[in-house]
C-alpha cells in the first residue's frame, strides 16, 4: 500500500492525550457553572453565535465526515461535492423552516418535539426507538475511525485498536465527556476546523498546487493530471441519473434537517436571531470543511494514481493520515489525528447521550417512575453498555466509515423530517398521521438501507435495473413516502369524528401559533392560520409523484 509506519507514534500519542486532558478540563470548568439539567445540555440557553457556530460544526463534523469524505471520493468522485453541499444546505433549510418554532417550543430532541406537538406516547416511543437506531448507525462509523486512529498511534491491528480506542472513548464519555456538552463541542469544533485546514494547505502545497493559501480553490493546475488518471472524475456528474440527484436531495438535504443531535443545537443560543446567525457562521465552516475534504480527496487520488499505489477500499479511510504523513510529516499527522479524535469524541458523546437518555428516560422511565437517584445510576450505566454494544457491532464495520453515517441520515430524513415540517406548519397534522408516516418512512428506509449495504441493492428486478447512480440513496423512496402517508392519513383521520375526538385540537392549535411567535392576545380559538389543507394536499401529491417516479 506504500505507507507503513513502524512502532508507536509518540508525537501523535502526546498530542491526543494532551487534547483529551484539555477536553476534561473544559468539561470540568463548564460543570462548575452548570446548575440545572437544562444548563447541562444546552449551556443555559446562553451561548453566543460564535461559540454556537463551533458547537454546530462539531455536531456536524463527525469522525466519519472528517476522514470519510476524503475516502468516499474513491466511490463517487466529483459527485461527493454535490452530496456534501446538499448536506450543508439542509442545515440552512432547517434554520429557515423550523429552527425558531422548535426553539420556542423548548424541546431539544426530535422525540421530545414529537411528544409535545402530537401529544402521543406511542409516537414518542416510536421516535425514541428510531432515534436509537439512528445514533447506533452514527456511532459505528465513529468507532471505526477511532480504531484507525489507534491503529496508527500504537501500531497494532484493527481489532485490538478498536477495543483499546473504543474503551478509552466510552469510559471518557460515561464518566466525564457529557459535562459542559456545548462548551466542549465548541472547543472540539474549533480543533476540527484547524486540524483540517492547516494540514490540507500543507498537503496541497507539497503536491504543487498553484494557490495553496486557499486550498479549496487553488489546485486547478492539477486537474489535467487528475483527468489523465481518472478521465471520468468530472464527467461522472453527467453520467449520474436524475434519480441519484433526487436521492441526494431527499436523503442528505432532508436528513440534515432532522438528525437528533443537529437539532439540539437550535436551543442553546441566547435568542432566536442569534441562534440563526450562529447557524450561518457554522454553515460557513461546515462548507469550508466540505471543500477542504474534497481537496484532500483530490490530492489523495492524484498521489496514489501518479505513484502507481493501489489502495484497498477498506483502507481508504486512512487516506488523510497517509497524505499528512507522506507530504508533510509528524506535526501534520499529529494534528490530523487530534482532529479525528476530537471529531470522534464529540460525536460518540452526542450519540451515546441520545441513546442513554432515550433508554433510561423515555423507555424505562415510561414503564415505571424513576427516582432522581435511580436516574443518576441508570443514565451512565446505559451509556456504558450502549458504548460496549457499539464497539462489538464495529468488529465488522461497513467498508467506508461514511456509509453508516449516510444510513443514519437517511433514516432520520425518513422518520423525522416530515413530522417536523408538517407538524410546525400545519395544524391538521395529527398523531395518527405522524405514527403512520414515521412507520412507513422508517421501515422503508431500514429495508432499503439493508439492501443498500448489499451489492444487489434490492429484491425487485425492476428496482435493481433502475439507474439509481453509483451509490444509491434510498431516501428517494422513503422520504416522499413518509410525507404523503403523514399528510393523507392526517387528512382522513381528521374527518373521522371518533378519531378526531381523541386529538387535543385546542391545545395543539394554540401550541402551533405560540411556536411561531404569536403573542397570547393575537391567538384566537378559531384562528385559521396554519390550518389550510390545500398546501399540504399539494405537497402530498408532489411527494406521491416523486415516489412513483423513483419506483417506476
Amino acid at each position: 500500500m506504500g505507507f507503513e509506519r513502524e512502532g508507536m507514534f509518540i508525537p501523535g500519542i502526546v498530542t491526543v492525550v494532551g487534547l483529551i486532558v484539555l477536553f476534561i478540563v473544559t468539561g470540568y470548568l463548564a460543570q462548575r457553572i452548570t446548575k440545572a439539567s437544562d444548563d447541562y445540555y444546552m449551556a443555559g440557553h446562553s451561548v453566543g453565535p460564535f461559540i454556537n457556530a463551533f458547537a454546530i460544526v462539531s455536531s456536524y463534523l463527525s469522525l466519519a465526515t472528517f476522514i470519510g469524505f476524503t475516502a468516499f471520493i474513491w466511490g463517487i468522485q466529483s459527485l461527493l461535492l454535490i452530496m456534501s453541499q446538499a448536506w450543508m444546505i439542509g442545515y440552512g433549510v432547517m434554520i429557515i423552516a423550523f429552527s425558531g418554532p422548535i426553539r420556542r417550543l423548548g424541546t431539544y430532541t426530535a422525540a421530545g418535539y414529537i411528544y409535545e406537538r402530537f401529544q402521543s406516547n406511542l409516537a414518542r416511543l416510536l421516535s425514541v426507538i428510531f432515534m436509537i437506531f439512528i445514533m447506533i448507525m452514527y456511532a459505528v462509523s465513529q468507532m471505526k475511525g477511532i480504531a484507525h486512529v489507534f491503529e496508527l498511534l500504537l501500531d497494532i491491528p484493527y481489532l485490538p485498536a478498536l477495543f483499546i480506542g473504543g474503551l478509552i472513548v466510552v469510559v471518557y464519555v460515561t464518566f466525564g465527556g457529557m459535562y459542559g456538552v456545548t462548551w466542549n463541542q465548541a472547543f472540539q469544533g474549533f480543533t476540527c476546523v484547524i486540524a483540517m485546514l492547516i494540514p490540507v494547505m500543507a498537503i496541497i502545497k507539497a503536491l504543487g498546487a498553484s494557490f495553496w493559501a486557499i486550498p479549496f480553490w487553488g489546485y486547478g493546475n492539477m486537474t489535467s493530471a487528475m483527468l489523465e488518471a481518472f478521465p471520468k472524475f468530472f464527467s461522472i456528474l453527467y453520467t449520474a441519473s436524475p434519480k441519484w440527484y433526487l436521492g441526494v436531495l431527499f436523503s442528505m438535504l432532508f436528513g440534515t434537517m432532522s438528525v437528533p443531535h443537529y437539532l439540539s443545537r437550535v436551543t442553546s443560543a441566547k435568542t432566536i436571531a442569534e441562534g440563526r446567525k450562529g447557524f450561518l457562521m457554522g454553515l460557513v465552516m461546515i462548507g469550508l470543511v466540505n471543500v477542504l475534504t474534497f481537496a484532500a480527496g483530490f490530492a489523495g487520488v492524484i498521489y496514489t494514481q501518479t505513484q502507481g499505489i493501489e489502495i484497498k477500499a477498506v483502507q481508504a479511510d486512512k487516506l488523510l493520515f497517509i497524505l499528512s504523513d507522506v507530504f508533510v510529516g509528524n506535526w501534520a499527522l499529529s494534528m490530523v489525528l487530534a482532529g479525528a479524535v476530537a471529531a470522534g469524541m464529540s460525536t460518540i458523546a452526542g450519540a451515546l447521550m441520545v441513546i442513554g437518555t432515550g433508554i433510561a428516560h423515555d423507555i424505562i422511565g415510561g414503564i415505571r417512575e424513576l427516582t432522581e437517584k435511580q436516574k443518576k445510576i441508570l443514565a451512565p450505566f446505559t451509556i456504558f453498555i450502549s458504548g460496549l454494544a457499539i464497539i462489538f457491532i464495529t468488529i465488522s464495520p461497513p467498508t467506508f466509515a461514511l456509509a453508516s453515517v449516510i444510513w443514519a441520515i437517511i433514516l432520520s430524513a425518513s422518520v423525522f423530517t416530515a413530522p417536523l415540517i408538517m407538524g410546525v406548519w400545519w395544524k391538521g397534522a395529527n398523531k395518527y398521521g405522524v405514527i403512520a408516516g414515521m412507520l412507513a418512512g422508517g421501515l422503508l428506509a431500514l429495508f432499503f438501507n439493508a439492501k443498500f449495504a448489499h451489492p444487489s441493492f434490492t429484491w425487485s428486478p425492476v428496482l435493481a435495473a433502475a439507474p439509481y447512480g453509483p451509490t444509491p440513496f434510498p431516501g428517494v423512496f422513503s422520504v416522499p413516502a413518509s410525507f404523503f402517508v403523514l399528510i393523507f392519513v392526517s387528512m382522513i383521520t381528521n374527518r373521522i369524528p371518533s378519531l378526531a375526538a381523541k386529538i387535543p385540537r385546542e391545545k395543539t392549535d394554540k401550541m402551533i401559533e405560540f411556536m411561531h411567535g404569536w403573542p397570547d392576545h393575537a391567538i384566537r380559538k378559531d384562528s385559521k392560520r396554519y390550518s389550510g389543507d390545500a398546501g399540504p394536499a399539494v405537497i402530498g401529491i408532489i411527494m406521491l409523484a416523486f415516489f412513483l417516479f423513483a419506483v417506476l
Binding site: 433549510v93 493546475n221 462548507g287 411567535g517
Partner: protein, 94 residues
Amino acid sequence: MAEINRGATEANDRIYKKELFVVVASSVICMLVAMGMLFMLAFPGLLDVYIWGYPFPFWYQVTIAYPGVILFMFWIILILTKIDNQKANAERET
C-alpha cells in the same frame, strides 16, 4: 362571545401570509440551488467550460452552492427576524 377586531385579524393574517411565502419560497430556492447540477444535465457543454483549471460545475458547487447560498440565507433570516418582531407586536384580535 368576545368581539373580533377585524382590522387586527387582517393585519395579522398579512404577516402570516408574508412569513409563509418567505419560508416556502426560500426553502424551495435553497433546495433548487443544492440540486443545481441536476438542471445542468441538460447542458453537457458546461463540462467543457474551464475557468482557472476547473470545469463550470465545480465552480458552481464551490461558489453558488456554498457562499452564494449562505449569503441568500443571511438575507432571508434578516427578513424572518423582522417578521418575528412584527408578530411579537401583533395587535389584539378580540
